[in-house]
């Protein structure tokens, strides 16, 4: 025999159980957990750094700020045209990367070379230098302060060596490539040594991953 009070409690428990099941069903169907950081090397996720505006001068003499980075993927490399080894090595790797991306139908990725040696790298020097590696490459320069408006945000430092008696000097700088996404966020870092195939496959993985997040 059940007392009315017991019946009440039982109904309440049943109702709660039903609600719990429904919630469970709903959760299973509609709730997707926050995606964890995918297994992509060098990816800044889930907190890519949003760049703010900067003011550099491109190799054609036009101003180049944050708006020019938006809507496209950009591989940034910081170096200088008198750089004997790592800069030309990296830019020729990036030429192969661009060719391969084009072959795969990616038409919104480009390479941007930013000088850390504005004293020697004039607009004209940058233009002939980047154009030698790939006609679509962009070269950025300007005053020391203008260049710093970008390097400071990426966290790139450089230091000039002592000049030789011939007046030549070397500049220590980052050997890494930095990938900026079409929203102007620093999304990934690629460490040297750079290999074209590895860069292409990682870029494709990042693009796919960010496409899923959109």
């Amino acid at each position: 025999m059940f007392k009315p009070g017991t019946m009440k409690t039982a109904s309440l428990i049943l109702a709660l159980m039903g609600l719990g099941m429904l919630t469970g069903l709903y959760t299973a169907r509609y709730y997707q957990p926050e995606p964890e950081s995918p297994d992509i090397e060098g990816l800044f996720w889930p907190d890519p750094k949003q760049l703010h505006d900067f003011s550099t001068i491109d190799h054609t003499g036009r101003g180049f700020g944050l708006d020019r980075l938006k809507g496209q993927w950009s591989f940034l490399f910081f170096g200088y045209t008198h750089c004997p080894d790592i800069c030309p090595v990296t830019l020729s790797v990036m030429d192969r990367v661009q060719q391969e991306l084009e072959r795969r139908g990616v038409d919104n990725a480009r390479t941007v070379f930013i000088t850390v040696d504005p004293g020697r790298d004039t607009t004209e020097q940058l233009a002939q230098y980047v154009g030698y590696f790939n006609p679509d490459f962009i070269g950025l320069g300007g005053s020391e302060a203008q260049i710093r408006s970008l390097t400071r945000q990426i966290g790139v430092v450089s230091s000039r060596g002592e000049p030789s008696k011939e007046g030549e000097y070397l500049v220590d700088h980052s050997a890494s490539l930095f990938l900026i996404d079409p929203r102007g966020r620093l999304i990934s870092l690629f460490s040297a040594p750079h290999k074209a195939n590895a860069i292409v496959s990682r870029f494709m993985a990042i693009r796919r991953f960010l496409g899923q997040q959109a």
Binding site: T81, D85, Y129, E168, H173
Partner: protein, 154 residues
């Protein structure tokens, strides 16, 4: 000619032959291969050079300098990339080539810096390089000027 004279002449020949063999062995113990010079981008007056040295001998050899009739000055450098991604260039006065090993001058690592070219350096040119080792050995090679990325050198 008496018998003794024939014997000593034979011995002398044998000795000369052995000496020649030894010299030959010492020479081929150290070889240089795949020498090439990267064409300089426009506006840049310095070329980078790359090559591989093989030391098949039993002793370490020390590379002291490299010279070329086409350049006023040749330096040996190494690109170093630190853990935080910073790259720096170090000049090397001497570089050891361990016995039974190879030394690679390749992009992103050891490289030759070729300054003060006496003639314009053009793609396809063959430029003579001489490697000077601490024991006095000289090794000559010819380096072809190429555009970076135009070959499968690794």
């Amino acid at each position: 000619m008496n018998r003794a004279a024939t014997a000593s002449a034979f011995r002398l020949l044998l000795l000369l032959f052995c000496a020649a063999q030894t010299t030959h062995a010492r020479e081929t113990a150290l070889t240089v291969e795949n020498a090439w010079i990267a064409e300089a981008p426009p506006g840049i007056g310095v070329n980078a050079g790359y090559l591989t040295i093989y030391n098949r001998g039993e002793h370490e050899r020390i590379l002291e300098r490299v010279s070329s009739p086409a350049f006023g000055r040749v330096e040996m450098h190494r690109t170093l990339v630190s853990e935080d991604g910073g790259s720096t260039m170090r000049r090397r006065r001497t570089i050891p080539v361990p016995a039974g090993d190879a030394l690679d001058f390749s992009p992103g690592g050891y490289h030759l810096m070729l300054f003060e070219n006496r003639e314009p350096v053009r793609r396809g040119d063959n430029i003579s390089l001489t490697l000077h080792f601490a024991d006095g050995t000289l090794l000559k090679t010819s380096a072809t000027v190429r555009r970076r990325g135009d070959h499968n050198h690794h």
